[in-house]
């Protein structure tokens, strides 16, 4: 079994990261009743004897002593990280695995990437190496950040290059929060564009998520809870609700609930690698199956259940509803329209008491309404994990490599161009050492090239699938 290290960068990255660790702990507590440190837990946590001073405290087997997250926390302001260290999760984090500063990146990618990048490069390397050393077999880095700000966007993507150089065989999965149209950070288009180039070049897999989608989902949950439409209640100990586990009438901290959704995504993504099942799917299989060409590594995710399931033994019809939901826009974490675009590949990661016949029945049912690229007509990757998420009998995570991401990128480009043409705020970037106009133009070309790839694929949509002439053999 392998281990993964989470690198949470910036305010957004750390808030999501914090939610993730909370949920991960609760999930493992629910699954691992005996308190034995097993391989599943070791994927994200170290077992440490806290009485030992210094580094030697790792315990590889036996009873759980003290769990430490395999995480590196990076922020150029102290606020969020301090809050985490004073909160209920403070013991989960190794205080040596933090990098903080006080001045912040001022919502400036260039400051995050170039200034703090060079300033903290050595420290970053040191912390990453340390966390890798603690792993028996490190498979994956999960980077969590937002695109629109300065630290998450700039320093977060600086990290990618470091990871690629230092750990070339370890996968880099990036969870990126894209800004919505009404983002109040004026420079977010610049930051996002510059970050995109890094994601194009140095990430193995990117899960783009936008705040708007998360917000819509939370609003719907709120609506349903308040209108009493959910029948009984939303399960109180379900991980879908807010991290404190209690239900709030009106979400005072909507970000909390929104972050929970992203945290759930990461949990479900890794469940088949951590827990047993009849058809396992390891993290290296995600990239293998869902990335047909190196540049096209952006995956749209949708997650169910998001709302409620109250029954334990659900007859197949309700199970089928879960599959339908995964293909409905309500459950997507990105504003996009996969059904009217072209699928390059699709992964269905199921948890709980779901069998192969359920999977196949639903694939057959949903297939006709989806368009797959001609060379991948049966482009489904599936996994069955026996362990359901806490509070539910089953769940489904769908990851789609679909040309529907194109509009998101085109919008990003448009917003960028509107600012760039006026040269608004450009001097804040250009005055940073190492930043020139070419950074911007290169970033734009990179994104344009990506958009063009999707364009070309889109032209093949609706074309009849023809079998190519085969090799003929002389008998």
């Amino acid at each position: 079994m392998t281990q993964s290290v989470v690198v949470q960068v910036g305010q957004c990255g750390n808030q999501i990261g914090c939610c993730f660790w909370d949920l991960a702990l609760r999930e493992h507590a629910a699954v691992n009743q005996k308190g034995i440190y097993d391989e599943a837990i070791s994927s994200f946590f170290r077992n440490v004897d806290t009485r030992v001073v210094g580094d030697g405290g790792s315990i590889s087997k036996g009873k759980i002593c003290s769990l430490k997250a395999r995480a590196v926390l990076i922020d150029m302001e102290e606020g969020v990280v301090n809050e985490i260290l004073q909160g209920p999760l403070r013991d989960v984090f190794d205080t040596k695995q933090l990098i903080t500063d006080i001045s912040g990146s001022g919502n400036n990618w260039a400051v995050g990437h170039k200034v703090f990048g060079s300033l903290y490069q050595d420290q970053i390397l040191e912390k990453l190496r340390k966390s890798a050393e603690h792993c028996d077999c490190l498979q994956c880095f999960f980077i969590i950040h937002s695109m629109g700000g300065g630290t998450g966007s700039g320093l977060g993507t600086f990290l990618l290059k470091v990871l690629e150089d230092e750990f070339p065989e370890v996968y880099r999965f990036v969870t990126s929060i894209y800004p919505s149209g009404e983002d109040d950070v004026i420079t977010s288009p610049y930051n996002s564009m510059l970050a995109m180039k890094e994601l194009n070049e140095h990430a193995d897999c990117v899960l783009p998520i936008d705040n708007q989608s998360l917000f819509d989902i939370i609003s719907k949950i709120d609506l349903m809870v308040n209108s009493g439409k959910l029948g009984t209640t939303v399960k109180p100990n379900s991980l879908v609700t807010s991290s404190s586990g209690t239900l709030k009438k009106r979400h005072k901290k909507p970000f909390d609930a929104m972050n929970n959704i992203v945290a759930n995504l990461l949990l479900n993504l890794t469940s088949s690698a951590r827990f047993e099942g009849s058809l396992n799917m390891d993290l290296n299989e995600i990239s293998m199956n869902l990335v047909p060409f190196p540049q096209l590594h952006y995956l749209v995710s949708s997650l169910t259940p998001l709302y409620t399931l109250t029954d334990v033994n659900i007859p197949p019809r309700r199970l089928d509803q879960m599959f339908s939901d995964a293909f409905s826009k309500d459950h997507q974490l990105l504003q996009a329209d996969p059904k009217h675009s072209l699928y390059l590949a699709c992964a269905l990661m199921v948890r709980g008491n779901v069998q192969i016949s359920d999977l196949r029945r639903n694939i057959e049912r949903l297939k006709p309404s989806l368009q797959f690229v001609s060379w991948n007509q049966e482009g489904w990757k599936t996994s069955l994990c026996s362990v359901p998420p806490v509070g539910h009998s089953h769940s489904l995570l769908a990851l789609a490599n679909n040309t529907c991401v194109k509009p998101t990128f085109m919008e990003l480009k448009e917003r960028f161009m509107r600012l760039y043409k006026k040269k608004a705020h450009l001097h804040h970037y250009l005055q940073v050492e190492g930043v020139e106009k070419s950074c911007f133009t290169e970033a734009v070309s990179s994104l344009s090239a990506l958009i063009q790839e999707y364009d070309q694929l889109d032209t093949t949509k609706n074309m009849p699938v023809q079998d190519l002439p085969r090799l003929s053999i002389a008998m």
Partner: protein, 505 residues
């Protein structure tokens, strides 16, 4: 052709069994291979212990002893240990497999029979073949060697693997090649799981063609089970509502068990056949160009239905024969329990051409297809409907187990029209009959066939892989680990050759 083995008289403990069976070493690779391997050993031993053998006590004992020698070695406290090596590149499945076996209380795997790593092959054939293979070659081959050394008399290897993933397929191909190098005089049969048509793994077609082309060079026979076919059996014949991989593997294990459990030879009813693999190869693979074998088993039904059903050999064999020539994956769909017998009798006794319209509607046997009259082209070939194509065989083996088995008449399988012209039926067809019943079925018949059964599935996989290859999708994942475009082209060439050879039978 006589076996080139020396017959030795072997005594085991208090059982004066003459000519005990030679042993088979099973290599289970990847998640699929290990999950199936468990079910196979479990099925073999359960059947062996079953009290419904419908034969004499002495007969039963001989059967048990033979089965044990073939597949198990004995430990001190009497718990049989499977003659198996378990290989996987990550630990979850092997751990599960080991504990399930131990929990059965009836048998277990050897303590040191496993090879495991921490990180899987990522569904990447190239990774399994080029990275894991060489890296772990010594350890894996050493484990296998230890297992072979435990055998007094060694028949050969049975390698269980899937084609779709990364370990079973890639590492499986590598290991098979190694076995060919290190044990050139031993037989190797690869049991290959053909994935579902609508993907389990997106790159399954690539992995499949790479596996098949490599195995064609290094293996002696490829015994194929298709997930789609077994799934249909579970759905239509066993009436299982929510089909799990466990269900599928159990049906599969049942089919394998009915092939591999001890049988008598046609010539002699004094002792069970000694060399299962040798005999299978001898009868079924007369020419190295034709290595693809498939299994058809009849009857298949849920336990409830079994209690109410009786069959005649004539009925079973008629169905089995029609399954062969019409390329059916399974027998007729059987309705409710009490209809079971009636519907089969009806189909057996009435004129096939009238029941054709009824049966063609159910996904089962197509009674329209008939063998060609000698000298005339087959009827099917003239028809526009591809499904009417008549299935020509290279060789067939029918194994019958159960009550009154000596009365079973297999003449229908000796029709020269069933076979390709370069083999006479007397060489192409064989039957093994055994009184001792198998696994609760009073009568059961299994057909192992080297025929055009697999041409269409193979052709389909090659076609899909070719389409994907033309777009170069995913190729970078393979070239990263040393499998280049030329390697793909080689595989395509080999397999087109295989398809062509079978089509021209």
């Amino acid at each position: 052709m006589e076996h080139a083995h020396s017959f030795s008289v072997v005594f085991r403990g208090n059982t004066p069994s003459l000519w005990l069976s030679m042993s088979i070493v099973t290599v289970q690779l990847g998640q699929c291979g290990n999950q199936i391997g468990f079910e196979v050993f479990d099925a073999l031993l359960s059947d062996s212990h079953s009290s419904q053998g419908l034969c004499s006590k002495r007969e039963n004992e001989a059967y048990q002893a033979s089965c044990k020698e073939r597949f198990f070695s004995e430990e001190e406290n009497g718990v049989p240990i499977a003659r198996a090596v378990l290989v996987d590149m990550e630990p979850k499945v092997i751990n599960q497999t080991l504990s399930k076996a131990a929990q059965s209380g009836q048998w277990k795997y050897g303590q040191h029979a496993c090879f495991c790593q921490k990180q899987g092959s990522g569904n990447n054939w190239a990774y399994g073949y080029s990275v894991h293979g060489p890296r772990h070659e010594e350890s894996i081959m050493s484990l296998i060697r230890k297992e072979v050394e435990k055998c007094d008399s060694f028949s050969g290897f049975f390698i269980i693997m899937s084609m779709a993933g990364g370990t079973g397929s890639g590492l499986g191909a590598f290991v098979t090649q190694n076995l060919q190098d290190q044990y050139p005089n031993s037989l190797k049969m690869n049991h290959i799981i053909w994935p579902y048509g609508t993907g389990e793994v997106i790159v399954q077609n690539y992995n499949s063609i790479l596996t098949l082309s490599h195995l064609y060079r290094s293996s002696d026979a490829l015994l194929v089970h298709e997930n789609d076919a077994v799934h249909k059996i579970c759905a239509k014949l066993m009436n299982i509502k929510q089909i799990s991989f466990s269900d599928i593997n159990q049906v599969l294990a049942h089919q394998l068990g009915s092939v591999f459990q001890p049988t008598y030879s046609a010539e002699s009813s004094f002792h069970y056949r000694r060399n299962p693999l040798g005999d299978l190869m001898e009868h079924l693979v007369p020419h190295p160009e034709f290595k693809m074998l498939s299994v058809r088993n009849i009857p298949h039904m849920s336990e409830n239905s079994l209690a109410y059903s009786t069959f005649t050999w004539a009925g079973l064999l008629k169905h089995l024969r029609q399954m062969l020539i019409s390329n059916a994956k399974m027998e007729e769909e059987v309705g409710s329990d009490c209809v079971a017998q009636a519907s089969l009798e009806l189909l057996v006794s009435s004129d096939p051409s009238t029941s054709a319209s009824q049966s063609a509607g159910i996904t089962g046997i197509d009674w329209h297809v008939r063998p060609p009259l000698s000298g005339l082209p087959p009827l099917g070939k003239m028809s526009l409907n591809k499904d009417l194509h008549f299935n020509t065989s290279v060789a067939n083996l029918v194994i019958l187990r159960g009550k009154d088995v000596q009365s079973a008449d297999v003449e229908g399988f000796k029709d020269p029209a069933l076979y390709t012209s370069w083999l006479k039926p007397v060489n192409a067809f064989n039957v093994w009959k055994t009184q001792r019943a198998f696994s609760k079925y009073e009568k059961s018949a299994v057909l192992v066939s080297n025929s055009q059964f697999l041409v269409k599935p193979l052709d389909t996989i090659v076609g899909k892989a070719w389409n994907m290859f033309a777009s170069k999708a995913y190729i970078h994942q393979y070239t990263k680990f040393g499998i280049e475009e030329e390697d793909f082209l080689d595989s395509f060439t080999s397999l087109e050759q295989v398809v062509a050879s079978y089509c021209n039978l």
